[in-house]
Amino acid sequence: MNKVRALIVDDSSVMRKIVERSLRQAGIDLSEVREAGNGAEGLSSLTDSGVDLILCDINMPVMDGIEFLRQLQTVQNAKGVPVVMITTEGSESHVVQALSIGARGYIRKPFTADQVKEHVIPLLEQKK
């Protein structure tokens, strides 16, 4: 698998580190990891260049994950980039809403590294 640039959006710095570790444990060769504490920071981080994968929480201050997904659709650098939601909000309506506006996967917290692998690897292989 090629080197992967990932953007991790979560208001918890601990959770961002756990997600990064899970990606590495999944065997993903990360060339760059960008971190953002909310959706607005996530969008700003894509202004100059894109990434290959985005993992995003839903419940965040300033801009939540659903609004981030909506606005991401207009970001040129995010075209075709798979987004996986990682969140405690595991309700059916949240899943449907996130998938309907562009998310490609949905992982409920608490999660294992294997779950991250199961969701992310197929998306990266499709993108190749």
């Binding site: 208001d11 918890s12 710095s13 601990v14 959770m15 580190k17 756990i18 570790r21 419940n59 965040m60 201050p61 969140t87 405690t88 909000e89 595991g90 309700s91 059916e92 309506s93 949240h94 409920r108 917290k109 608490p110 999660f111 294992t112």
Partner: protein, 161 residues
């Protein structure tokens, strides 16, 4: 139903959720921290100076709290991140808030049909011992004490009818 009957019915409902709350706690600690929660050790006197809170709003309305010592919070951060205690120190509040958040989310997702009808707040962490939490709920909290690596922790759920 009169208010006494209402209160009894609510208490009975709350107590029927105990297995879900305990399972939600166990899963979060096992999956995210690689640690088992044990029954409380009666010989260890609880001393809590950190409290994480997550609000529940919607059909299920109230607050879930996780109380522990700063040593427990530091150990949680250490186990979540897989780093030494000294390196985890700066992350302990964030880790505790996230553990509380995951317990709240995991718990409400276990209650049939509640996932869509209950929202969670972002977590808040309070430090100190000399304060009283007024959750504006009716009835007493549902409290589940545990031992985490020999250290006492307390999970409380307070629900508004």
């Amino acid at each position: 139903m009169n208010s006494v009957e209402d209160a009894l019915a609510q208490r009975k409902l709350l107590e029927s959720w105990v297995p879900f709350l305990e399972l939600a706690c166990q899963e979060v600690f096992e999956i995210m921290l690689g640690s088992k929660l044990d029954p409380p050790d009666a010989s260890v006197l609880p001393s809590f100076n950190v409290t994480a809170m997550v609000g529940l709003a919607g059909q299920l309305c109230g607050v879930l709290t996780l109380r522990c010592s700063s040593a427990s919070a530091n150990l949680m951060a250490s186990r979540m991140l897989g780093v030494e205690l000294e390196q985890a120190d700066q992350h302990m509040w964030d880790a505790l808030g996230e553990v509380c958040n995951m317990i709240a989310g995991n718990f409400k997702n276990k209650l049939t049909g509640m996932g869509d009808r209950c929202m969670l707040s972002v977590p808040t962490v309070v430090t100190g011992e000399d304060y009283t939490l007024h959750a504006l709920t009716d009835g007493g909290p549902l409290e589940r004490p545990f031992s985490f690596a020999g250290l006492p922790i307390m999970i409380s759920l307070e629900i508004h009818s």
